[in-house]
Symmetry: C2
Subunit: 245 residues, 2 copies
DNA sequence: AAGTGGTCTAGACCACCAT
DNA sequence: TGGTGGTCTAGACCACTTA
């Protein structure tokens, strides 16, 4: 049971513990929503004190990878919880409370990655990808048009039926069905103008200003797993970003 | 020397320590850039163990309020360091490396807060404010137009001369001259169209798409101290936002 | 060499949850 | 009631900075 760690020189012990723990998480040793072994057990397994083990888990908690529940255990962070619904969804009404989006899938196609997509997804040009177009409505009005690119390899049996049959977020589907846990996103925003096709879908005039968001979603080890271009009608909604605290 | 803490029931000791420490920081007991007393000294002063004291400071570090330097001390985070230059500045070239902005002050006026401004700044309608318009250039081309509103009360002697004579960021000026430490910002983004006046200043056509950013900057205790509306020409630049990690 | 923050340990006790 | 995470302590030793 006692698993001695290979200590890389000049690396703190708790970082080593965190690294090994992350490995186990990435390899699916415990399932999403499931509890990890108790802190005492993990400390014993890695041959470190509880304090050191806790410091490793502290960082995983700060990164949103796991969640502690006093008296209950430490769990893999789930994309299903309402609490996390808005962790990666940043469009809110300019006035009033947050709204839950309703998603309509407009297109589901298979294709091949071009140069830019391959580079950003860490795959090869021409590798098979899935291309998905979703229209997101808030308060029953279309607000966001999403175009996504996924490496086919990571989502072997994903079909339009499976995608639209989900009863939760897309990231929950990635996690529950494909064991892919989105931990981090990087977004780049610009202002653009609606072309005729997009204008029709979003119900705005051609040439209306739209917020364009280019997102890359990452899982463990900063491996990219999804590209997404979102076009947002910001007439009655806006994008929020809080830095610090 | 030993200062016993009033322990609020059901509040962990380290949270109390953090609260008292934050009070001292907010009241300027130590100056920006200056070192706090050593951890051992602070632990003794508050009558807690070093471990507890460290846990309090851990949170202040996570919030960017203070910075630890091994072998040297714990310092109030400074807005002057290059490292922090881009902590609150999120516009980068779409291609290539980050660029440092050059600021030109176009207007410096005194006025009175309207309803919306007063509400967001936590002051009363009609209270005196400063209105500043800055044009920010990247690689010698105008890219961002900033309109700022500051409560006059917090910046008693701020003049156009003092503003433009600074050799550092505006937030460094707030910190160094007025003891106001910007810790957090909240931003709301939308897409908009350039009107004639703005188009001329930014060198774009009227009706060109611009990224509009509404920012509120906060200091200790989440007290708002600045409103800022930025209009960004995103033809060759973009706004970045990384969530997680 | 003295002083600072960084790591690691071992153990006690508490608050909470499930049973 | 037993197991879990949460807090707090006391002390040892290490790594780094400054003078």
């Amino acid at each position: 049971m006692n698993q001695v760690l290979d200590r890389a020189v000049a690396a703190p012990l708790y970082k080593e513990v965190k690294r090994v723990l992350t490995q186990s998480l990435a390899q699916g040793e415990w399932q999403p929503g499931e509890a990890l072994p108790s802190e005492a057990r993990l400390a014993q397994r890695y041959g470190v004190s509880i304090g050191t083990l806790r410091k490793a888990i502290d960082e995983l908690v700060a990164e949103g990878v796991v969640v502690r529940r006093q008296g209950s255990g430490t769990f893999i962070a789930s994309h299903g919880a309402n609490r996390l619904m808005f962790h990666f969804f940043h469009v809110v009404p300019r006035e009033g409370d947050k709204q839950y989006p309703r998603t309509t899938t407009l297109a589901f196609r298979r294709g091949r990655a071009d140069g830019a997509q391959a580079a950003r997804l860490g795959i090869s040009v021409g590798d098979p990808v899935l291309r998905i177009r979703n229209l997101l409505s808030l308060a029953d009005k279309p607000v966001i048009l999403d175009d996504m690119v996924l490496p086919q390899r990571l989502f072997p049996d994903l079909s339009e039926r499976i995608l639209t049959a989900r009863d939760n977020t897309i990231y929950h589907l990635y996690q529950a069905r494909y064991g892919i846990n989105v931990l981090r996103t990087a977004e780049r925003l610009r202002a653009s103008l609606a072309d005729a096709e997009v204008a029709k879908l979003l119900g705005v005039r051609k040439g209306a200003p739209l917020l364009a968001i280019d997102r890359v979603a990452y899982t463990y080890h900063n491996a990219p797993i999804e590209l997404r271009r979102s076009l947002v009608n910001t007439a009655e909604h806006e994008y929020f970003s809080d830095i610090g605290k």
